[in-house]
């Protein structure tokens, strides 16, 4: 065992120079591909969680399309999605002679507002995944979360902070667009890095071979975020700002599109259910009390606890079935987090979010099936 350890330490010592070289190549390569996660990088469990995270934004987008606006939006979203798709193909010349791609998500958010931008980029990503194999199919949830949710919402928030109540020709809009594009893609890259980085913690074979993306957070975050922050996000910001400058000259109404169509203060969803949300938050906050109570909830004994309880035999069917389903968070415990209490609380929050989203989605599906309401 000790020679392995020595070899490993030698390896660690040798890494830096090789890694610097590698990151150089990797950075250049990363910037010429958009941030599309292929299948095989993320475990199916992660993919499903990412779908759950992105679902409410899809529901919001579809609702916005169906109710708040007219049928005019069907071709509008289609064309903006097509535009976003084509823009991802543009090679943007950079100082130094290289070229890079932009995602165009920030631009879509500035012109359409984040909810509809989510739909447009999602559609572009779905076509890319199915038609060009660019980005995985199970990974659509994760890709959409990074590029169709995080990117447009972050970009839009920053752009709004700079340009709220400014005339269309304002210089602040240009600054806001550049900053929004840069920050949006950088944050999206960070999220992608986290999705990669948690894989080796949770999913590996018995002898420690990682089953999916192999790098821990300590490698994946710098590998994704640094090249994006230095190159790809700069391109995104640059393209967004340049197009805003162009629109200021050529098509000012496009910059005020969101304002005209947006129905003021869409907070009703939150406001109406505020009491419920607060109650839920309070309940989550008092979850740790459950840690004080010893033992297991009545009737929820596992097979081992049954024998502890004095049951001399375990029902054969139960013994057979107990191995059938292994939950993603077995026993509400995340083995990678050494702190069991923290893991318990995190499990509670994750579970609440997933259940909440499922219920919300179900309600949406049941109540929103009205073709006339579009």
């Amino acid at each position: 065992m000790s020679q392995y350890k020595a070899a490993f330490e030698l390896l660690i010592k040798k890494i830096p120079r090789a890694l610097i070289l590698y990151y150089g190549v990797f950075a250049i390569w990363l910037c010429t591909t958009a941030m599309h996660i292929p299948d095989g990088y993320l475990s199916p469990a992660t993919s499903i969680i990412m779908f759950a995270l992105v679902l409410p934004f899809w529901v919001m987008g579809v609702r916005k399309l169906r109710e708040k606006m007219t049928a005019r939006n069907v071709p509008l979203v289609a064309l903006i999605a097509a535009f976003s798709f084509v823009i991802m193909m543009f090679n943007v010349p950079l100082p130094g002679g290289t070229t890079a791609h932009a995602v165009g998500g920030a631009l879509a958010a500035i012109i359409l507002g984040p909810e509809i931008a989510t739909m447009a980029i999602t559609i572009a990503l779905v076509i890319q995944a199915f038609f060009f194999g660019d980005g995985g199919i199970l990974a659509i949830g994760a890709n959409c979360f990074n590029m169709a949710v995080v990117l447009p919402y972050v970009s839009y928030a920053i752009y709004q902070a700079f340009s709220k109540n400014q005339p269309p020709t304002s210089k602040r809009r240009i600054v806001g667009a550049a900053a929004g594009g840069w920050a949006g893609l950088t944050v999206a890259a960070f999220f992608a890095a986290v999705e990669f980085g948690i894989q080796p913690m949770f999913f590996h074979t018995v002898n420690g071979t990682p089953l999916y993306a192999p790098y821990p957070l300590s490698i994946s975050i710098p590998a994704m975020v640094i090249p994006h922050a230095l190159i790809a996000s700069v391109v995104e910001g640059l393209v967004t700002a340049l197009v805003v400058i162009y629109l200021q000259r050529a098509n000012q109404p496009a910059l005020e599109f969101v304002k005209k169509t947006e129905i003021a203060s869409e907070l009703s969803g939150f406001a109406k259910w505020r009491a419920l949300w607060i109650a839920l938050a309070v309940m989550l906050a008092i979850v740790p009390i459950g840690l004080l109570a010893p033992g297991t909830a009545w009737g929820e004994w596992g097979t081992e606890q049954l024998s502890q309880l004095g049951l001399s035999f375990i029902p054969q069917g139960m013994a057979n079935l107990s191995g059938l389903w292994s939950a993603p968070l077995p026993g509400y415990d995340l083995p990678a987090l050494k702190n069991a209490n923290l893991a318990y609380i995190l499990s509670g929050i994750t579970g609440t979010i997933i259940i909440g989203l499922t219920v919300w989605l179900f309600t949406m599906l049941v109540t929103q099936r009205k073709p006339e309401s579009m």
Partner: protein
């Protein structure tokens, strides 16, 4: 045959206009080629698109659930076998998957060979070592990505895009979204043609190389114009839809019918998938 004089010394560095033109043409060519394959009379082309889309999703799921590399390998050979009987050139199929798409993955997987701790397999110069677990990890990543992409490519190569869209209805995708997806695909082609023309016309007027800032302004102006055109076309399309009687809700003519060979192949495929998932989890 006379060759064009092509001096390797004096060929100018290909600029970004050329790169973008090449990208656009490749995309158009790829989609045309896919439609061509989808019209051949092969095994997969004859099956119900709904069956294909569900089976594809489950197959990709099986690939990603498996903890056993052999199972993934078997599924990859299944993809090759299906491609062969669907009259897709195997050389083209393998090239399309392994040359273009997972190149990104190859670069990502490479350092995993060296930095995953485990027992040592090979010593390399510079004090680098390849570990057993490193090889396994890299192999897992590459095979998973390659096999998943292969199945996705199979679906697209054997099914016309419109049928794929219609079949998405099985997965409970709202009809509005399917309508938008179809329109997007159609207008991607239009916008690609427009962009092609814009860049080509600019290129044909060039007398010298543009400098960096001119190039960036050209990209911005092209993107801006494209955006304006997109907005304009969208309102024209809306008017056209209205004048043809679009009543705010899309209706599709559902003509899919499951025949005996669909049921048969569906049964075989689902048993295979079930087996693969079960064996892969052992």
């Amino acid at each position: 045959m006379a060759k064009f004089p092509r001096s390797s010394k004096h060929t100018p560095r290909s600029g970004f206009v050329e790169k973008t033109l090449v990208d656009i043409n490749n995309t158009l060519e790829q989609s045309l080629f896919a439609e061509q394959n989808a019209r051949k009379q092969g095994l997969l082309q004859g099956l119900d698109p709904r069956l294909k889309i569900v089976a594809l999703l489950l197959l990709v799921l099986a690939v990603n659930l498996s903890h056993n590399i052999l199972i993934i390998l078997v599924l990859y050979f299944l993809a090759l076998w299906l491609a062969f009987f669907s009259k897709i050139s195997l050389v083209f199929f393998i090239k399309r998957v392994w040359l273009l798409i997972p190149f990104f993955t190859g670069i990502v997987a490479l350092p995993a060979l060296f930095i995953t701790p485990g027992s040592i397999l090979v010593h390399l110069p510079l004090g680098l070592v390849i570990t057993n677990t490193g090889v396994m990890t890299a192999a897992f990543l590459l095979l998973r990505v390659g096999t998943s992409v292969s199945f996705a490519v199979l679906l697209i190569l054997t099914t016309p895009w419109n049928s794929v869209l219609k079949a998405l209805g099985v997965l409970r995708v709202p009809a509005v979204i399917i309508l938008i997806l179809g329109m997007t695909y159609r207008y991607v082609h239009l916008l690609l043609h427009i962009t092609n023309d814009m860049f080509l016309s600019r290129k044909s007027r060039l007398l010298r190389r543009m400098n960096g800032s001119e190039e960036r302004h050209l990209v911005a102006a092209t993107s801006g114009t494209l955006l304006n055109k997109s907005l304009q076309v969208s309102s024209e399309v809306f008017l056209a839809m209205q004048s043809r009687g679009f009543r705010n809700y899309p209706r599709t003519m559902d003509t899919f019918k499951m025949r005996w060979r669909d049921w048969l192949s569906g049964g075989v495929v689902f048993i295979t998938i079930g087996l693969a998932i079960w064996l892969g989890r052992l």
